[in-house]
């Protein structure tokens, strides 16, 4: 689900149409993609596709959460001196498939230790740092790169990065975690749909599956994967069923502008125009008078382009 949300480009394009002060994301593929918008003066409404994603959005984007306190860091980021009993570890099935023994000990300890943290926001920051750590471990593992840094050191480092990331943030972010059938259209200037392609699972999707399972305290990746896929399905572009845009037209009902973004690869722009843009224009014909398709090259040798389709 490769997708590049270029926020400054989006705003440049929509600002020629109207002044924007609020944006609605019925779906977002990854929390950090919202960083740029959330650092500026916009009211954001974001619907997370899972409770664990909602937690990440709160912990990394909501300025009122602040930073992880020094006191809690001392108390909850301990070094594990002796290996823990593996048979007690609910994630032991992941041993050597996803994580090594020491990493599993910490994943177990971090999840349990955080229950002792009194303030919920502090606990969510602590858990959210685990997402970044998992990402770091998994991507190095995929390339067979040995990680030298001790897990508790990495946790300290990630919480530092979190503090830098959240600093000076006054974002107004309203976060929901509803299924798409329950979700109502928001009263915003702009509704934005990041579109993903429904092909193979990439590293980021695997990470979200593993993190979701970990957050829920079990090792059943299939269950987590099913859940996430079910939510994602409505935003997956399937060139074979181009007329199924009901969710999109429904959720953008209260917006002056609707934008769709996607990142194409291996197929020429003309094909996207024919198979996606035209059907969408048809679907929105009754609502908006105009539409505009913008493109940016990423790598022309493999037809990698970013697309931005506006209706207004």
């Amino acid at each position: 689900m490769t997708l590049r949300l270029q926020s400054a480009w989006l705003l440049e394009a929509v600002s020629e149409i109207a002044t924007i002060d609020s944006v609605f994301f019925p779906f977002v593929h990854r929390f950090s993609a919202l960083n740029w918008l959330s650092r500026r003066d916009f009211a954001l409404s974001v619907n997370a596709f899972s409770p664990s994603q909602a937690m990440l959005l709160r912990a990394w984007l909501d300025g009122s959460y602040g930073v992880f306190s020094e006191r809690n860091l001392q108390k909850f980021n301990q070094q594990i001196k002796n290996p823990l009993d593996l048979s007690m570890n609910p994630f032991r099935a992941w041993k050597d498939r996803l994580f090594d023994r020491q990493q599993l000990d910490y994943l177990f300890y971090w999840r349990e230790a955080a229950f002792e943290i009194e303030e919920e926001s502090q606990r969510e920051i602590f858990w959210s740092a685990v997402y970044q750590i998992m990402s770091y471990w998994l991507s190095n593992r995929a390339c067979e790169v040995e990680v030298e840094c001790r897990p508790d050191e990495i946790m300290g480092l990630m919480l530092n990065r979190h503090a830098e990331f959240i600093k000076g943030r006054e974002a107004k972010v309203a976060i929901t975690s509803l299924s798409l059938d329950e979700l109502a259209p928001a009263e915003t200037c702009l509704t934005l749909f990041p579109m993903v392609f429904g092909d193979e699972e990439n590293a980021e999707m695997t990470l979200q599956v593993v993190f979701d399972a970990w957050h829920n305290g079990h090792d059943d990746l299939e269950q987590a994967r099913r859940q996430i896929r079910m939510q994602l399905r409505k935003y997956q572009i399937d060139l074979a069923r181009p007329t199924d845009y009901y969710t999109i037209t429904k959720l953008s009902a209260n917006s002056k502008i609707t934008a769709l973004i996607w990142s194409g690869l291996d197929l020429p722009p003309a094909l996207y125009e024919q198979e996606m843009v035209r059907p969408l224009q048809k679907a929105f014909a009754a609502r908006y008078a105009k539409s505009q398709l913008l493109m940016k090259a990423v790598d022309r040798t493999c037809d990698a382009y970013d697309y931005l389709l506006l209706f207004y």
Binding site: Q6, S32, N140, V145, K167, G168, V298
Partner: protein, 225 residues
Amino acid sequence: MLITFFNAILIVLITWLAYLYFDQREKAMPARERYAQLMRGVASIVDRLEGYDKEHSREIAELSERIGVACGLNDQQLQSLNAAAMLHDIGELLLPRDLVKSDKKLEGDELELLRTHTLLGELHLKAQIEDLDEVPTLIRWHHERWDGLGYPDNLKGEEIPLAARIIALADAVSAMKATRDYRKRQYSRDEDVVAEVKRLSGMQFDPQLVKTWIAIGCPLASIKQ
């Protein structure tokens, strides 16, 4: 007789066309070299204004090329990589001098402003060249990080085009070894740079790229002699 005459004209015509073709090609080759020289000239002005003690942009371009070749990039990709690496910080020229050359750690609005050099570089180049060229886009992303915590778009992992990941690595490596007139060298020993790059694998840098960089002998500077 008529046919022979016709043939003769045809031969002359073909020879003339072939001459034109080779002549043009002959002229085209130096054009590429001239373009490269002009690019180096522009880049060296940028370096000078940024206060580098060396040809920072050229070094990054050459370092990027070495890594790019090792990654198997094709000719067109290498060309884009070279241009983007040469001009990666050109947007800084559009920012206030005292901001770019500030020796204190920037925060808040000042930091946000400095970070716009990625967008400014892209915007101004885009206005000058063909609509769908990837070089401005690569410049936009030269400060993205593998872990999604870079800027301006917080792209993560393979969302960042390989060429931009390469420039980010080369830029960081070169900066670790560089002196700018307002900032001291971060690492004086080569092995410290290598250790730092390894430490940041999977965070700031693409682990696969770090592996490739190690496989070609951890080049730190690559100005051709």
